[in-house]
């Protein structure tokens, strides 16, 4: 260990570390622009310059690459340091007067208007992009080119790079937003979409699956993680202070001997693009109820604002289509049982957010089976400006001028064909037993019924018992139902299992 002082504070550091690392570890701030924890020090922005006294001699050095020495005295804010930094920032602001990061940094040193000739660049030539591509990604798709005044960041021969893997690391590390992936790669940039937010926003390759995940720890998506694809990168390792990144972790199979099993494998959503007439995936402003749910959620990708996909505008006129894939001889024959009520809830929420928003719900039959459910619907009509239209729309098209979806349907009361142009359409698609239901049932030799739900031989007296003693099923894996019903069944299954286990003894 090495002893040194930074701004008068005595600190110890490991030999071979640099002043900047030690300062930051001791909560002493030194500004940087070209420094990155995962990259070799570059020493180009010179902003991290500090004044040192080494063997009795005062010197200005860059802290990012000056190794600590015994007895070193470091001043991170001497007059000479501050004066120099101020000039560096004034020069950078003259180069990039419109880059917010530089504006803010300069302002923090009292510079608002440079005294120099202004340019309008947004690249500060810190080289982070090229360095991460070479040092960490092992690709070298971009690099510096030219020298002196002509120095810039470029792809070879200024042509979009064939070897670029499209990982986006360059754009990600760029502190000024100067790097646009589409200018660099010859590939179509494809973001990794968040499953939890139903593809509404991208996520990184290392991520917490959703806020309530148990256990709530990040996972690495091996399908897309550059390290697992190429062996390079490993940047997360540099940043995790707990040293918790483990690239060698494998899935584990745990064998356990049990006496009773409760099956609660839940549901998946039916793919609405299978219902071709509704144009999901083609008409931009047609979304699913789950996407809507994430959008209207305060913790969702749009922080609770409704933004339609085509242009981000808030819709004024909203249509919900019920039974998308449910009660349909071409798709699923059964009623998904929860959609009438959740569509009503979503319509009410929309109106609460935007009082001038008008919602229409196109339904087959109103299935408000439950206490006060009918009253809820009445309130939606009376207080929240929701209109229920009894009709199954035949198709949805797009108005090419404004991207508005047009809902084509039969006015069943008047028996006329008509259409309605709205700003956005929400499809309430069918719910289906989750994919794992079939796998587990096969494993346990349980039968499935015609709709692929777990078969319950005696629904009346033993509503959670499967055909095999000791195996119980609750929730959506055995029939469509809402949350309260699932909770009731879960309690029942637990009680039945307890009863079964006590009999065993």
């Amino acid at each position: 260990m090495v002893n040194l002082t930074i701004d008068g504070k005595a600190v110890t550091a490991e030999e071979g570390t640099y002043i900047l690392q030690v300062a930051r570890a001791n909560s002493i701030d030194i500004p940087t622009l070209c420094y990155h924890q995962a990259l070799e020090p570059f020493g180009a922005c010179r902003l991290c310059t500090v004044e040192i006294t080494s063997r009795g001699r005062k010197r200005l050095v860059t802290s990012c690459n000056y190794p600590v020495e015994e007895g070193l005295e470091v001043s991170t804010d001497s007059e000479a340091v501050i004066k120099g930094r101020r000039m560096i920032l004034e020069l950078l602001l003259a180069r990039c007067p419109n880059v917010p990061l530089i504006q803010e940094l300069a302002k923090s040193y009292g510079i608002e208007k440079p005294r120099f000739k202004l340019e309008d660049d947004n690249c500060i030539l810190c080289g982070l992009c090229a360095r991460i591509c070479e040092e960490r990604m092992g690709v070298s798709a971009i690099s510096f080119s030219g020298r002196g005044l002509e120095r810039k960041i470029d792809t070879p021969f200024h042509v979009n790079s064939e070897i670029c893997q499209g990982c986006g690391a360059c754009a990600f590390v760029c502190p000024t937003g100067a790097i646009k992936l589409e200018d660099i790669t010859a590939k179509e940039p494809r973001p990794i979409l968040s499953e939890f937010n139903v593809g509404l926003n991208p996520r990184s390759a290392i991520y917490v699956p959703f806020p309530q995940a148990v256990p709530k720890v990040p996972v690495i998506d091996r399908e897309v993680c550059i390290h697992f694809l190429t062996g390079n990168c490993r940047i997360c390792e540099n940043f995790c202070q707990a040293g918790a990144i483990n690239y060698d972790q494998e899935d584990e199979i745990i064998e356990a001997e049990v006496d009773a099993i409760i099956l609660a494998s839940g549901f998946d959503l039916y793919d609405p693009s299978a219902v071709e007439e509704y144009g999901y995936g083609k008409v931009k402003n047609v979304i699913t109820a789950m996407q809507y749910e994430r959008m209207i959620s305060a913790s969702g990708p749009t922080e609770g604002h409704l933004e339609r996909p085509s242009d981000g505008k808030t819709p004024k006129k909203l249509a919900f289509i019920q039974c998308v894939g449910s009660r349909d001889t071409h798709h699923k024959l059964y009623c998904s049982s929860v959609c009438c009520m959740h569509a009503t809830k979503e319509a009410i929420l929309a109106n609460e957010h935007y009082p001038d928003l008008k919602a229409f719900i196109f339904y087959t039959d109103m299935r408000a089976v439950g206490k006060k459910f009918q009253e809820y619907i009445a309130r939606a009509e009376q207080e929240y400006n929701v209109t229920y239209i009894r009709s199954r729309p035949s198709k949805i098209t797009e108005n090419p001028d404004n991207g508005n979806p047009i809902v084509w349907y039969e006015e069943t009361t008047a028996r006329t064909r008509t259409s309605m142009e709205v700003d956005m359409v929400v499809l309430c698609q069918a719910l289906i037993p989750s994919g794992s239901t079939k796998d587990i049932s096969d494993m346990l030799h349980l039968s499935l019924n015609d709709y692929q739900f777990v078969d319950i031989p005696d629904r009346l007296f033993h509503p959670v018992d499967t055909e095999i003693p000791g195996i119980f099923a609750c929730g959506f894996c055995q029939a469509p139902q809402d949350i309260p019903d699932s909770v009731v069944q879960a309690s029942a299954a637990a009680a039945r299992a307890a009863e079964f286990l006590s009999k065993e003894d």
Binding site: E150, P156, F157
Partner: protein, 153 residues
């Protein structure tokens, strides 16, 4: 590139295969052979020696001895060294850009001339100096430039 050109380039690359740190030497040889470094050549080097194209491009764009655009039939270099500068090379250069209608670093559209400035030719006694295709013209006044350039087309 023609197969003949590829084999010419390959021959140069062969000289350096398996050696480290040779990129600059290799590119200098290619510059001498072709008078410029085309994209296809960079691709070829990248393929054969497993050097990223970006590194080749970076080197070729960094050094003045290498050109990423084809050069003209005649190379006119005007010395802008200090000795030549104080003996009036800026005025000479002005006159030459006027005559050739190109700026330093450019090649005339008909590829007849490429105009370059150089930092010192090591014959300061002759300043200001211009060199056309390796022939030195020393102590040359701006008014004499046209006379010299007339001999080339």
């Amino acid at each position: 590139m023609t197969t003949e050109e590829i084999s010419r380039i390959d021959k140069i690359i062969d000289k350096y295969e398996g050696e480290e740190g040779i990129l600059i030497q290799l590119l200098l040889d290619i510059q001498q052979e072709l008078n410029w470094i085309p994209k296809e050549v960079a691709e070829r080097i990248s393929q054969r020696l497993n050097i990223p194209q970006s590194q080749i491009y970076r080197v070729a764009s960094f050094y003045t001895a290498m050109s990423l655009t084809p050069r003209g039939r005649h190379l006119v270099s005007v010395c802008m060294g200090t000795a030549c500068h104080i003996r009036g090379s800026p005025r000479l250069l002005d006159r030459i850009t006027d005559i050739l209608k190109i700026q330093p670093g450019e090649t005339s559209p008909d590829r007849s001339f490429t105009l370059n400035t150089v930092n010192c030719l090591g014959c300061c006694a002759l300043g200001p100096v211009m060199v056309v295709d390796g022939k030195y013209h020393g102590k040359i006044a701006p008014t004499e430039a046209e006379e010299v350039l007339k001999n080339y087309d």
